[in-house]
Symmetry: C2
Subunit: 337 residues, 2 copies
């Protein structure tokens, strides 16, 4: 009689899947066993390893049901296991990504779950707490992944390894920054004439970047927790676009007032009213685009099969930098030059 | 005989503590019970609720030990529970923050944990998977918290509530952006003479911001997973400062080359060699400060009793904006004006 099913190698499954967390099931019994026989076997096995459930399989090792220690305690010694076992138990598949497994088990709270292949053959078990533990460690890598830190980097990663992990993304970020600089460069003549515009460039860029990162963070959380499902994406996109618009308008008023006082104080050649109107308009436009980008960047990464968090903040700020400074200097050039 | 201990109200404990996740323990027995008596009680209780362990308490409801269903199955019917119960079981305290509980349970993987007060009185039980489930949901809020999204905001939070949550932080971010703008404003005269400097402002700001966010993300992860312990903070600070220096130097070379070609192409009045040296130096200086800020911002927030993630990205980019653009324009002014 099998005590374990066919041997498996956890490392033959892709990273971040249930297969990687599998252990061998300890107590695997045929359904014709009596309670007394099962207790005898449990007695032997219990000296070797801890386990929570007994798994009932047929000759082909197809999972038929689950029996708890309490079942063994409370049923007649002569009863057959298949007479009272829990049939059609909830099972996981080894190829499930951790996120998917977390979503399926979050309302069950079993100490462990059987893992079966598509024919129902019992491959192993996974402890519930391991799913969520791995998941917590996994999710804690997200803020880093957004700015180009590898998921495996931790506080105690050696210096050279950290440098190797992070540096390529910083060079990539620099390339994207050159794009934003190129946009500013297009309007060098305008800045040359109205130098106060240069002072407000970091305000536009910083503000639209932060607005976009808010939308990005909520999108990523939705993807992580399984709340941002296909079909609900458009509705969420509309909400974030509207939020960008509303936040842009309200923040644009403050920023416009800032420009008004600064330009009045500096006695600029251009009317402070016009300058503050340009700040307001470009803030509304760029925050609207920030909201849209905050949703589209992770969804696009996901669509191309990438982790939706990877470098998402770098892609996002490229879009928000180009849009915000492009709008600002573009409107100024059209209006004033 | 008590089946449950003194009634408790989970909502009387602060949010994100173990107390909030407590349930009443089902099987609570005195130690003098025999296995046969305990099995009889388990038989009654099992019809009402699911439970994993029996808890053994004295007259004052102080937890004495834990008995598993397997223990009941495998011991003599006449044996007293206190003869074989597991003494001094691992317990949690209701006031433990979830992070602390996660750190203590991560290598245990028990289906549930008893929760006791400081006298050892059994207050309730907490399922292991609930700790990690809450933790996963909690950690998934971190990228949002960094840019001013409330921890409770999710994809389906209504529009007005999202606006109310996020908007105050955006106005706050604008105030900090004004500080950065003020620094640029100090050097308006320099920009007026050498307008190419304005083109490279977003490069310096974007690059040092992303470098700092990498350090910030790894710091926050260390705090979340309990790896960044007091005493190891200085060592980590030195590492991140050195990483900032190294990344700043390597990225500074690329950025300096970018400035060299741009200035040569634009035929600027100032030597392209000098301009690219200024880009290089300010990149090294500001990325060094980014690394330091990425560690100091969350540690400072924590020291003041705040969540180390809260608005951390906003504080960080204020520091990196001011430092990077201040260095860049400051060095240019000292060298060229």
């Amino acid at each position: 009689m099998n005590q374990t099913t066919a041997p498996f190698r956890a490392d033959s499954y892709p990273e971040h899947t249930i297969g990687r967390l599998m252990e061998n099931p300890v107590a695997v019994f045929p359904g014709h066993l009596s309670v007394a026989e099962a207790v005898e076997r449990v007695r032997e096995l219990a000296t070797k390893r801890l386990f929570t459930y007994c798994y009932i399989v047929d000759e082909a090792e197809i999972l038929q049901g689950v029996v708890t220690m309490r079942d063994l305690l409370l049923h007649d010694r002569e009863a057959r296991l298949d007479a009272f076992m829990l049939r059609n138990p909830f099972v996981l598949r080894p190829e499930y990504p951790l996120m998917e497994a977390m979503r399926q088990t979050v309302n069950r709270h079993y100490p462990s779950y059987p893992v079966c292949d598509d024919r129902g053959m019992l491959l192993g078990i996974v402890r519930g707490s391991r799913i969520f533990e791995e998941q917590a460690v996994e999710i804690s890598a997200q803020p880093g992944a957004m700015v180009g830190v590898e998921r495996e980097e931790r506080v105690n990663t050696p210096f050279l390894r950290s440098l190797k992990f992070r540096h390529p993304w910083l060079q990539f970020n620099l390339l994207t920054a050159f794009i934003a600089a190129g946009v500013v460069g297009l309007f060098e003549g305008t800045i040359d004439q109205i130098v106060v515009l240069a002072v407000f460039l970091p305000v536009l860029a910083g503000q639209s970047g932060n607005t976009g990162c808010q939308a990005l963070a909520v999108s990523l959380r939705g993807l992580t927790l399984g709340e941002l499902k296909p079909g609900r994406e458009n509705q969420f996109l509309v909400k974030e676009a509207a939020l960008g618009l509303a936040n842009g308008a309200l923040v644009g008023i403050t920023a416009g007032l800032g420009m008004f006082f600064y330009a009045t104080w500096q006695q600029t050649a251009v009317s402070p009213y016009v300058l503050s109107a340009i700040v307001f308009l470009s803030m509304v436009g760029s925050c609207f685009l920030s909201g849209v980008s905050g949703v589209m960047v992770p969804l696009t990464l996901k669509k191309f099969g990438a982790d939706p968090a990877t470098a998402s903040s770098i892609f996002l700020t490229t879009a928000t930098d180009v849009a915000s400074m492009g709008f600002f200097l573009g409107i100024a050039t059209l209006w004033l030059m």
